[in-house]
Assembly symmetry: C2
Homo-oligomer: 189 residues x 2
């Protein structure tokens, strides 16, 4: 039986969303998987913007429910962390015990990016935790993003791929995505 993979990530927001999603879908099929993605189904118009948003939420959750696994693109989006919609979806699939994998196209870890957020102005306190000038702690656990995300994947035997993409290919480079496909294909159903 063909494994269905939900391909989560911020590609839906790109100028050529369709092209970016199709490239991922084609590659997933080449590895023997059935890709399922937000954006695959046209959402019917709704009376209000919020109701339209609720319909997308419903369609995407239904797709996740029908999928056997997820590959989440956790490349930082408009800031130092992953797209929160993708983070929600990764948590959703972890809770269902599905196959989980994730990747990022930025090689720097979460701690390094958090440091940069503070312009390097963070210090290690007596409690052993690094804190910015606002007193807010930086996670320093050698992971690509908040520990719930990478922890949720690794603790389920999933794979986290890291690749340093060229800046102009930040959301289009599929090297790390392909590494996730290879991992899941080797692992079997």
């Amino acid at each position: 039986m063909t494994i269905k993979l939900y391909l989560a990530g911020p590609e839906v927001f790109l100028p050529d969303a369709r092209g970016a999603l199709d490239a991922k879908a084609d590659m997933a099929r080449a590895y023997g998987f059935e890709p399922i993605m937000p954006g695959d189904i046209a959402i019917e118009p709704a009376p209000t913007r919020r109701e339209f948003g609720l319909r997308i939420s419903e369609v995407d959750e239904r797709m996740m429910n029908s999928a056997d696994g997820i590959i989440a693109n956790l490349t930082p989006f408009r800031g130092i962390s992953a797209d929160v919609g993708t983070a929600f979806e990764l948590g959703y699939m972890c809770a269902q015990g599905k196959i989980v994998a994730a990747y990022t196209n930025i090689a720097d870890g979460h701690f390094e990016r958090s440091m940069r957020f503070y312009g390097g102005d963070a210090v290690k306190g007596d409690d052993g935790r690094w804190r910015g000038p606002d007193g807010i702690a930086l996670e320093d656990v050698d992971m690509i993003d908040n520990l719930m995300l990478q922890g949720g994947v690794l603790r389920r035997g999933g794979h986290v791929a890291v690749h340093a993409a060229q800046p102009d290919r930040l959301y289009l480079d599929l090297t790390a995505f392909e590494e996730c496909l290879t991992f899941i294909a080797a692992r079997g159903a």
Copy 2:
């Protein structure tokens, strides 16, 4: 039977994390709930930073599994969106069919904050979507953050509370948190 609520949010990173968490726990108890929170259990040291992170992930997931519901603090954290760890946890609890509620201490919606991220330099294209100068689309669905988060809560009959806190009380103001407690208490188990 007492309803157990997992209290998710970026409070764990605050200078006085313990005080902030205790204040939320006390208020939850006053409403008749049993609060469960990250930070409640001391995590044993581990050989590496990553293994330490994995232990926290495990403890937090176990707490969620034992909880009947979640109140997620989605107040923007180091950027224009919620803490991704909290987003993961909200998705995790939505997938389990638990009681869900969320709040933010910033009154501006996700669209307004995204606009500000681009300094107002976004335009509506022929496809009806707003895009920044980088071509990346802005969600415009009248929600407090990415539609998977608010959609996941509202579609399950949950509540989303919005309150404009004073900047120096951004992560400490409990007005919206209390609104969530009131909602869940009125709704019953």
